[in-house]
């Protein structure tokens, strides 16, 4: 033993990065536990009954062993730690080579970046959320076109049939589970008997149908009935005098422009009833790590409400999309609901493990991938369970105060709406 101790050569190795991440994770976990204990103590001191927050029942996805292993990991915690790690300030001399290496690996075009001096970005998180030079993303000149909201790859697109969205060939998920239009049970199946495909067109002059729609809206906490949702409520803002000239249009405010754009979609004989020649369409765009991660409005539209689903944060890589059914209905997402010139319009940014934070520029209250939000969602789920009601899975906010005439927040085509941030 003495000889072994004396003659063995000692070699020093740097501590692996993974160990550092694990240490930060443990520290964050300990900190969050302490904060929760502190909160309960304060509530007890105030005389309030401390409420034990029961975590929401996690949906265990089915799939191959890789998916099963992934479903056991605390993905949101990993995502938060990843975010903190990327917010660490990089040493000044390492910034340019570091960002250039990242750009080389993930295919970032540095000529398009608004800030030519890469030293300005203190860390990877700020480089990831970079702006582009004005004019490098010209908008399609066709006013009837729906624009791409971001850079990315088209994963899937098509028409919605039987209320189902196709994730990949043969794998579908319910539109109601994605947008929260029906009451969603933990196994993502609509349970309310009045839940119907959104594109179903019926005659709501029939009192029976009208009563069913009102009941459906009441049960699901909607401020509108399905026929009004599908028809779009542009009747009251339609410009009956026809189109306006360019000089008039340039003097309008952004809200008035959106109003005029919405009105253009409806001819003078506009009817509030949905016509049988309309349908629901969908498109899924995947943003790779090297893509520009701010997103823009694809059309002129009015956002009426926002639904935040504090779900999981699985990776949305093409592999997992092929193997994990209903991936987009499991992940944390922000559903923006509203209307455009042709009726219903929804916009759903879906988070992933590495890009968990979704920012909406006109919604300062929205907090995604946050422990506070998760605890609030757990509390809501617990309250719903106490009342014997199914948990809707989301928290909702409306933007009616943004404009009284439009009933929501107006967005112009191409306007920046927000973005995805690291962690």
């Amino acid at each position: 033993l003495r000889a072994a101790l004396g003659k063995t050569k000692i070699e020093w190795y740097p501590i692996p990065v993974g160990l550092g991440i694990a240490f930060l994770g443990l520290a964050q976990f300990y900190k969050s536990q302490q904060a929760e204990k502190q909160r309960m103590l304060m509530e007890a001191e105030r005389g309030d009954r401390p409420q034990e927050v029961v975590p929401r029942q996690r949906v265990r996805p089915t799939g191959p062993w890789q998916v099963q292993v992934m479903s056991t990991l605390p993905l949101k915690l990993v995502s938060r730690i990843w975010g903190r790690f990327n917010e660490l300030v990089l040493p000044y001399p390492l910034r340019v080579p570091g960002f250039k290496l990242y750009s080389w690996i993930f295919g970032v075009n540095l000529d398009e970046v608004d800030e030519p001096d890469l030293h300005v970005y203190p860390n990877l998180a700020s480089f990831f959320y970079r702006k582009l030079k004005p004019g490098v993303r010209p908008l399609d000149p066709n006013p009837s076109a729906l624009l791409s909201p971001s850079d990315g790859r088209i994963l899937q697109f098509g028409m919605i049939e039987r209320g189902e969205v196709e994730q990949v060939k043969g794998m579908t998920y319910s539109l109601e589970a994605l947008l929260g239009l029906g009451t969603v049970s933990p196994d993502s199946e609509p349970v309310h008997p009045t839940t119907r495909p959104m594109h179903k067109v019926d005659d709501d002059t029939d009192p029976e149908n009208l009563a069913a729609d009102q009941e459906f809206a009441k049960m699901n906490g909607l401020s509108y009935t399905l026929p009004t949702l599908l028809s779009g409520t542009t009747k009251h803002i339609a410009d009956k005098n026809g189109s306006m000239d360019a000089s008039m249009e340039s003097s309008l405010t952004s809200e008035e422009k959106v109003k005029a754009d919405l009105a253009k979609g409806e001819p003078a004989w506009y009817s509030p009833r949905p016509t049988s020649n309309r349908a629901l369409y969908y498109v899924v765009i995947y943003l790779a790590p090297g893509d520009y991660h701010r997103f823009h409005s694809p059309a002129s539209w009015v956002v009426e409400s926002r639904r935040h689903f504090a779900g999981e944060l699985y990776s949305v890589s093409p592999y997992l999309q092929r193997t994990l059914a209903g991936l987009f209905t499991l992940n944390e997402r922000v559903v923006l609901l509203g209307r455009w010139r042709w009726g219903f319009f929804s916009y759903t940014p879906v988070g992933a493990t590495n890009v968990g934070s979704i920012k909406i520029n006109f919604d300062a209250e929205l907090r995604t991938n946050s422990l506070t939000t998760d605890t609030a969602a757990d509390r809501q789920a617990a309250l719903a369970a106490q009342r014997g009601e199914p948990y809707s899975g989301y928290t909702e906010a409306t933007y009616g105060h943004a404009s009284k005439t439009l009933g929501g927040h107006a967005l112009q085509r191409g306007e920046e709406m927000g973005g995805f941030q690291l962690g």
Binding site: D151, I154, P349, V355
Partner: protein, 48 residues
Amino acid sequence: SSIVLVFEAPMGNRQSFDVSWTGERKGGWQWHIKKGQRIKQGEALGEV
């Protein structure tokens, strides 16, 4: 990360098309994209 758009638009079937004097079909939703295609912000996904 991903973005999912779900929207209502006129159906691109034969009944809803309005054919102009040039023979161009108008009125229905038409996609301008292909599956797997790379796209940049501001490019057209489709048009009515």
